[in-house]
Symmetry: C2
Subunit: 407 residues, 2 copies
């Protein structure tokens, strides 16, 4: 059998993107045992690192062993009992995902929607909270399906006022856009590694407030066969998933170290490296780098006379939607970029399918050379497909954008 | 921040164990996009490889992105609707786990039990099937908590006769003990990488029969926001989990490539390498190597006058339970082995806690040198703790056992 040799793609879509080399190398670390002091201290270190990433003092900051939607499901299914009301403001595909996961947990899901390409005003959300009186507000921060970033900074105060749990999925945005768990009064946050953190998919860091933890602890049950006193029960209804049972995950990550799953050690090492990489760069520096690369990509796209999608005042730093010009076959262009230039840009879902490309600048690829190669190659491919556009305009505008920056 | 440097442990517990170096290296492969032809062909290759690992022609052979219990939960929650009856023969901790996961899926769980250290006769299981008339029989093959291997070869025929789905979790046994999905007429099997396959925890290969797939497809729903026709519905009740929704996982792994999670690419590469490693060695050769190492470890333990646990006629090849002698502090011995010799052996759960150690010989560590070092070190540590035992007996018996073997 042949060894795995992947083509050297430059991944400029909405994620996953190329990993930082140091993150890939970290996974080659040989294992130690699950309860080895070296392992448990590594787990504690990872908790401390992600407190920094999330900008929180939450003790309960840990990894869920799965992709980013595993983190979402763990947060929702552990907190929402059948019949509990949850409010989901939907501004793209991932709002629908939150609804769907909450529905499957048996929750009564209420949603409000804005057109794809827009975000919500805090007043719209407050009005819905007043009407619905949900147990939880669940909202995506950055939805790559539309490239929009929902402002969260005013929502925590509203949630506290109405005694609502405040949860956000920040998978696509964290590390490339500001995110402040404590300052914004969030009760639960879940993310993934495969966007601005520059790792592969497969580990979902989460952070949980005391308020959230107190609530889910009421649904605590210990697995049979683990210790003598089986089926110790909390008063709440049993959480519908074993794998995503946060009280049990807390027992495993906590001092008690009660066996649950076997921690996915290589992904733990990987998550550790992603966090260290971010912290060594400095979170603010990383955000500034994402903004710089995103601004340059936007300038380049506009200089090619291509139309960016959505409300640019609320665009995520790390991805831009680009309207596919009339008469251009979007998939054909993507294909050519991939085959001739080894560059991947993203297609779209749902209502935007066939209407926009999505071009990312995130993690390792939030770099000048990556932006410049992408713009040049996009120009070449569009030109050879017979589309008229200003020659060299894109790359020049991006270079100007970069040189105007102080970074 | 310091780079991660784990101590060079020799992991001789019930798993996780040291990974094959080539498996660790495979995770350093740089990523490609989620729908890159290089990625989808790698996914197809992994499906084909695991068909060989599982000894099946099942088309529907794929990975669940999580630890081995993620595979268990996916199989159970996708098939079991609330109120469905499932029969679980329990002979150790992982039988309890199957019950608990099935209960949370809303199933009506019936179990039968034998004392820890024993396994079931097919007649016992058939009798229970007749009485319970379950939709599914769910049974662990190798339960590391007791070191016992449940014979499965007669159960498929029984299940077919009573029209019962037959599922087994073979996480701890596959690759080190015979497992024949098609010959034994299994409908669903889930495993993990961290035992005899010699990888880290974090990916759960599963294989599914047509019968199983036909059944769960009736519960098929498409996620909102993915394509125009939202909420296409099957007739069955909606699966309680999005993450573990097998019909959706099949759409993602199948020709349709409908977006679900973002595949955990590094764990995919890792799972691929585990399978190739096994297939290149030859499954029968790998099983023989595990038997040889397990036999040698057993001979060594017995020659040290230590008592193996359970019914040896049904011991898994890859792990042995060892009664902790009277007057010996089991945890103290484990601690000393770890600190002085960098060797980890396992402790126990539930009714066996403090009663036995569990010593594994699996995957990369099903090796002569690993067995010999472990026996010598165990002897030294026991001797220095004041326990009397035949000097050199263990390592000599193991060497004899190895030299009597044809491998």
């Amino acid at each position: 059998m042949k060894p795995l040799t992947m083509p050297p793609r430059l991944l400029m879509g909405p994620g996953p993107i190329n990993c930082y080399p140091r993150v890939l190398t970290a996974m080659s670390q040989q294992l130690v045992g699950q309860y080895d002091p070296a392992m448990t201290s590594c787990m504690n270190e990872v908790m401390a690192l992600y407190r920094q990433v999330f900008e929180t003092n939450n003790h309960h900051t840990l990894l869920v062993d799965g992709t980013s939607r595993a983190g979402i499901e763990a947060v929702l299914v552990s907190a929402l009992e059948p019949g509990d009301k949850v409010l989901v403001p939907i501004f793209g595909r991932f709002g629908h995902l939150l609804c769907e996961i909450a529905e499957r947990a048996g929750a009564e899901v209420h949603s409000i929607e804005v057109p794809w390409g827009e975000v919500f005003e805090p007043e719209q959300i407050e009005k819905a909270i007043r009407e619905v009186q949900p147990k939880m507000l669940a909202v995506v921060q950055g939805d790559t399906s539309t490239t929009m970033l929902q402002p969260l900074e005013h929502l925590g105060e509203i949630c506290r006022r109405y005694d609502v749990l405040f949860y956000s999925d920040a998978t696509a945005s964290i590390g490339g856009n500001p995110f402040k768990t404590d300052e914004w009064q969030l009760d639960a946050v879940s993310v993934g590694l495969q966007k601005c953190l520059g790792g592969p998919s497969g580990s979902a860091p989460i952070t949980l407030s005391e308020r959230y933890v107190e609530l889910v602890r009421k649904r605590h049950h210990v697995e049979a066969g683990i210790r003598e006193s089986v089926h110790q029960s909390g008063s709440g209804s049993r959480i519908r998933s074993n794998y995503f049972d946060i009280p049990m995950l807390l027992d495993y990550w906590g001092e008690e170290r009660l066996n649950h799953h076997t921690e996915a050690a290589s992904m733990l090492f990987c998550a550790r490296e992603c966090a260290i990489n971010l912290i060594e760069e400095g979170i603010d520096n990383s955000i500034a780098r994402h903004k710089q690369a995103g601004d340059a990509m936007l300038a380049g796209v506009q200089a090619l006379n291509l139309e960016p999608f959505g409300n640019l005042a609320h665009k995520m730093h790390n991805v831009v939607g680009v309207e596919i010009p009339d008469g251009v076959d979007g998939e054909q262009i993507r294909q050519q970029l991939l085959l001739d230039f080894n560059i991947e840009i993203g297609t779209s879902f749902g209502p935007l399918k066939g209407r926009i490309w999505r071009i990312g600048t995130m993690g390792y690829n939030a770099r000048k050379d990556a932006v410049l190669h992408t713009l040049q190659s996009l120009e070449t491919v569009l030109r050879r497909a017979g589309h008229k556009l200003p020659g060299g305009g894109g790359v020049d505008a991006a270079l100007d954008s970069f040189s105007g920056s102080s970074l």
